[in-house]
């Protein structure tokens, strides 16, 4: 396809095509939006068995040197210094104005920190981090590593016999392991709301690793389409859609990612805005909502008070295959943000009744 000609490819591009993946442009990469089974079947298979996603487009890097954790804290309000070896944490990179520069995962591997950032932001993120590093702390980009996500309630039974070290982890634990002789670093995490692992491996071994994992009982390939509907059911934000540089952690309801120590010291970029918003509240807040009936409402749909004024807009919206109904993430005025509040969505010029609803829409099933 012409539109994918100038796109980058992951080490699994050949495998995606061999599996019948429908390739689309995403963050500058040609990525499979779905395989022949389709988004609905792939989504439901992840919730009932296990799915394998290629997320190699995401940015991987390691931060090494004395004081790496303290250095990283200059651009994030997460408590990195308290992150124990073998553990991973979700964090936000911040703008000086208190907006969200990106969201990311950071793991402590003892002698270094491992970072995973969004594909669309990786160059900017790494430049931001490098800009604050003291002498002796180095960011090493890892473009020669692939990242695979094995997700679903069947993932543990599938991977256990191959890599018992990985099933010994609890949610957000990180370990090195070997899978059929391939050295990997894996975290018990993901972005679907299900149990599973994100597995980093050398690019040259990625296809062999993917084939090993796809041959495990109950494991099927899943594309970006299913990844998107799964993360939305799980109430998880997509950077650039649900959060961005204009959004604060307080508006985005992500203050839980700010370390307690950091909230005492207020020593991170944008702390002034965050502190003020925590004290005084924000005008708008991120919420979940569920339209009545089966009609989905998509991103940018305007939200009104019933018969009244505009109170917000949808950022991500669609149909939840496991929810068996439409769902959306939105920002609304705090006065209308309580669960159960009746609202109207303006879809193609017509009001569609909906209610503010708690997230996740489908309960998380992490291995706590």
């Amino acid at each position: 396809m012409a539109e994918t000609e100038s796109l980058l490819e992951t080490p699994l591009a050949g495998l995606h095509r061999a599996l019948g993946g429908r390739m689309v442009a995403f963050a500058g990469y040609a990525m499979p939006v779905q395989y022949p089974a389709g988004i609905m079947a792939e989504h439901l298979h992840v919730r009932s068995h296990a799915g394998l996603f290629d997320v190699s487009h995401m940015g991987q890097a390691e931060l090494v040197g004395e004081g790496a954790a303290a250095a990283l804290e200059q651009v994030t309000p997460a408590d990195i210094q308290a992150l124990k070896p073998g553990r991973q944490r979700y964090g936000l990179l911040m703008t000086p104005e208190g907006g969200i520069f990106d969201d990311f995962m950071v793991a402590n591997r003892g002698d270094r920190l491992l970072l995973v950032v969004n594909a669309s932001r990786k160059h900017d993120d790494f430049a931001l981090i490098e800009s604050v590093l003291p002498t002796g702390v180095t960011l090493r980009r890892l473009p020669d590593r692939a990242l695979l996500a094995l997700q679903g309630p069947g993932a543990a039974a599938a991977i256990g016999p191959l890599a018992p070290a990985l099933t010994a982890l609890s949610f957000m634990g990180v370990a090195e392991a070997e899978i059929e002789g391939i050295p990997v670093i894996a975290s018990r995490s993901g972005y679907t709301g299900e149990d599973g692992w994100e597995i980093s491996a050398p690019a040259g071994e990625a296809e062999r690793l993917a084939k090993v994992l796809l041959a495990l009982p109950g494991v099927q390939p899943a594309g970006l389409g299913a990844r998107d509907s799964l993360r939305l059911e799980a109430g998880l934000c997509l950077y650039g859609t649900d959060i961005d540089e204009a959004t604060s952690p307080v508006e985005a309801a992500l203050t839980w990612s700010i370390g307690k120590r950091r909230r005492m010291a207020w020593d991170f970029p944008g702390a002034e805005r965050v502190r003020g918003e925590l004290a005084n509240g924000t005008a708008r807040v991120r919420v979940g909502l569920r339209p009545e009936g089966r009609q989905p409402a998509r991103g940018e749909t305007m939200i009104h008070a019933p018969g009244g004024e505009t109170i917000g807009s949808i950022t991500s919206g669609g149909f939840g295959p496991s929810l068996s109904g439409p769902m959306a993430m939105a920002y609304v005025a705090r006065s209308h943000a309580t669960d159960g509040t009746a609202i109207e969505l303006i879809v193609r010029g017509k009001p569609l009744a909906a209610r503010i609803a708690p997230m996740p829409f489908v309960p998380h099933r992490y291995a706590r």
Binding site: I39, M40, R294, P296, R298, F319, P321
Partner: protein, 125 residues
Amino acid sequence: MPELKYTQDHEWVRADGDAATIGITDHAQNALGDVVFVDLPEVGREVAAGEAIAVVESVKAASDVYAPIAGRIVEVNAALTDDPGLINREPTGEGWFFKIEPADAGAVAALMDESAYAAFVDSQA
């Protein structure tokens, strides 16, 4: 059964007596993916050729469905409301969308035949 005619909007049209039955092609349903909702026009509505009169929503996106010919909506497929997956499973059968009584009896005959549509789809690939 009369042969199917096609439009560049990936719809099919079958002239059956006084009315023309309309749906989306297998190519279109495959490109859309799993259909989860359809918004159908009101029966009795007068429509112009090329007018967006229905919406089909898949897991991924919403797409307009156009009136391939001018006329009056005389029936819509109520079965799609409860089972929109019919559009994926039987796009040119039970997955039909609506029936139009043509304003111009010759309008359907002027649409693309199967081989012309196949050539059009190939030209878009």
